[in-house]
Subunit: 204 residues, 2 copies
Amino acid sequence: MKLPEKTVERLSRYRRLLLNYQFLEKPFIYSRDLARMLKINPVHVRRDLMLLGVSGSHSKGYDVQQLIREISLKLECTTKKSACIVGFSHTGRAVLELYAEGGTPINITAIFDVSTKSINKEFFGVSCYSMENLVEMIAEKEITLVILTNVDEEMGGIKDLLIACGIKGIMNLTSQTIEVPPQIHLEEYDLKTSLIKLTYFSEA
Amino acid sequence: MKLPEKTVERLSRYRRLLLNYQFLEKPFIYSRDLARMLKINPVHVRRDLMLLGVSGSHSKGYDVQQLIREISLKLECTTKKSACIVGFSHTGRAVLELYAEGGTPINITAIFDVSTKSINKEFFGVSCYSMENLVEMIAEKEITLVILTNVDEEMGGIKDLLIACGIKGIMNLTSQTIEVPPQIHLEEYDLKTSLIKLTYFSEA
């Protein structure tokens, strides 16, 4: 059984925060403190941790090391899925850098771009191919996940190609919206929306 | 009166989608179609558009051009706020590229970095300064918004400095969490959480 989307998102946020405390000696944390630090309703935190299957102690709260371990077990597959970056923009390089640091749940096995500056070169050990090789390489490297970072002009065409390739998930980091059929999971992040929220809610 | 955070986020998403249709002749759209395309509850869409103060026609739906115009009026200040990028990583370059394309609600007036490769150079017309000039330049350029893109090592120190400078909003695009006092608005995006959701919800 899959956990709810919001729970997965929050579990990842808990771990991100808890990693700051893991080097303290025998660290413990109360759900209300976790909730306060992340500005989340404490009820959600307690429910998420119940779904995770861990319980805290009344006197000390939750064992931080155990929480980190259980969240990692729950959220990450033992075999990393094969992924590719399509459109090697600065955003694509940022994704690759994070991947190279380790700790991401994917295995980036190919980059596809249209620029001759990148094609046939390696970045952090990952080869960059021409878009023309997309279909063939996706099959060869058993790629199931695609991170779109810069294909604004030909979004429609690329998307249809990816669907035909049997891709299971797309992460859209470009500035354009895409629609995908229900069998494909879509993650989206729009930097511009974040900038708008930043300006709208920051008091002058 | 400020709109609710989720409404602002959705309004920005509506506009992002509607911009694809603006060049059709006299385009109209029904709220239920907008909801379906963005996988949002139609009730939310109708309430958001009511808060925006626009009404649709029963026979044709909402005027796309009018929606785009009203959303822009509501979300964007007439004078753009002054912002800086701190830590000039690939993510920082991606933000700057988006800014250079136009259409972002901010005015990026400075970049701060520790690398001598970037300091004293210009990128898209924006000067990059040493971190040592941070306090002085924030005052000089009346910067109120900060986009953190790579300051992992010294996050605590930088944050305290920014608070002391009277910064109103921070966008945290680094891989570390930060806590800010209530008078500062914080936007956060964690790429790693998105990658986890992508792998977790994409069926093998």
